[in-house]
Symmetry: C2
Subunit: 289 residues, 2 copies
């Protein structure tokens, strides 16, 4: 299938490579053109100068960029993806963005006879590299069915959650569950260390019971060692939480701990930990200043 | 081995039964004598009228009661367990209590030539019924080694975490991790429902990734259905959290979300949910009054 992939960040680049490896024809675009050109040379892909030219002649255009504004700048305008896409084609947005934007894009696409799927992912850079992302989709069933086989090139799971925006809303639930959970784990492990316990021994025991979590199993050991230089950056988590808090304000869901943890992440940023993994919340508790 | 078990609550009763099934001679005691007598009849055990008489002639005395004061009332005084125990025997306390109490008991026992192990459990009523509790112990290695084979009758895991009090401190870490985690899960699932998503579908997708937890897998589905009439009661969780907050005040560990969630549990109590499972935090978010 002839496709384009817009946005060659830590997520987009490996996703595009998996698409190509899956037999699809992939034209790539990146805001910083040199990066796309280097990737194109290295992996035998084609790089385009604008989203519109990348999208030209494609059956499906995928994208994964930073935030709502980045999405709009890549999709709209004379050089934007929509300008290059024909009626009957499909745009898939893997960016974690607002549900409002997803509905806006769906409407703009629909007006041009183009299908749209909001499809934020979880699994992080490792999931993208290994082609094992979880993809949460919003849109209609027929459009979803046409793009799912291609998405499966980089996903271990790809599900349609509901109409446009439902993918984004599901990703928000995911981030809400993670934020408070990581804070609880941080409070527990910091307490363990302050109490003079052997943290690894504590993890070994409590991870077999009702306190168990993926974060405990995978981030607990590094939290104990103060290692945060990897994983999902605090800056990105704060972007996601700003979307969550905005949506919660509009749908009336109370998220008191999520809002508080967002402030703790602001503390990590203020201390220079912008690129730290989300598990760095424990550093806030340790901060003695 | 000749043993006694003091406290025939929802935890103690099945633990004592597993001890007897494991071939040990078990004399039981309960504050409300009729309950111990009924259990003795039903399971062919011996019931004693006081902790001291239950403990008489025993190599190991186990107990699992409510809180610090309950422990003191069962252990101290003319009718207390220590009055019936001989030098060279061992007292094992399965109550979730303060680390200070564990150290106090260890000293009082030591003065009488009696060994002491603080050994709070996790796994709840189901774990006790199935003989699959996790037991977190504090004390010295030699004493631990003598009681471990008996504890294994009702435990899937039994670990020595450090000196006296270390078992209690480990249990505190466990409860800290659970409190904030359940709140995060509550905020996520309530948000999902407010956003019009299919909650079970959301759980199915996000439980495969970084938001996964034992609570999500085991309590998420019942939370969506507003079912709280089972499991680990809010009253007990608040008792445990009061111990946590007291200990954190003394060791200097910051536990902001744990303290906040304790207040949300107070809200559940105020609404009459004292016996609800800890997963009832989601009801606080739904409360529209």
């Amino acid at each position: 299938m002839k496709t384009a992939f817009l946005g060659m960040g830590v997520m987009g680049a490996p996703m595009a490579r998996h698409l190509a490896k899956g037999g699809h024809d992939v034209t790539i675009y990146n805001r910083t053109a040199s990066k796309a050109e280097a990737l194109a040379r290295e992996h035998g892909l084609t790089a385009a100068a604008t989203p519109a030219s990348a999208a030209k002649g494609c059956e499906v255009v995928f994208m994964c960029v930073g935030n709502d504004d980045d999405v709009r700048s890549v999709v709209y305008g004379d050089d934007g993806a929509l300008a290059g896409m024909a009626s009957g084609t499909i745009l898939v947005d893997h960016t974690t963005a607002s549900a409002d934007l997803a509905r806006e894009l769906a409407e703009r696409c629909d007006n041009a006879g183009i299908g749209f799927i909001d499809a934020p992912v979880s699994g992080g850079q490792a999931g993208a590299e290994n082609g094992a992302l979880t993809v949460m989709c919003g849109g209609n069933q027929a459009t979803f069915d046409r793009v799912k086989p291609a998405i499966d090139c980089f996903a271990k799971s790809c599900k349609l959650m509901g109409e446009s925006g439902a993918g984004q809303l599901t990703k928000m639930v995911n981030q809400i569950c993670i934020a408070g959970l990581v804070q609880a784990l941080s409070e527990g492990l910091n307490f363990a260390q302050k109490a003079g316990l052997d943290g690894e021994k504590v993890l070994d025991v409590i991870s077999k019971g009702a306190a168990q979590s993926w974060q405990m199993d995978n981030r607990g050991p590094t939290m104990l060692k103060n290692e945060f230089d990897f994983g999902f950056a605090v800056d990105w988590m704060r972007k996601d939480l700003s979307i969550v808090l905005e949506e919660a304000r509009s749908n009336g869901a109370r998220v008191p701990v999520t809002a508080l943890v967002d402030q703790f992440y602001a503390h990590v940023q203020a201390k220079g930990g912008n690129r730290y993994d989300t598990s760095s919340l424990i550093a806030v508790l340790r901060d003695e200043s």
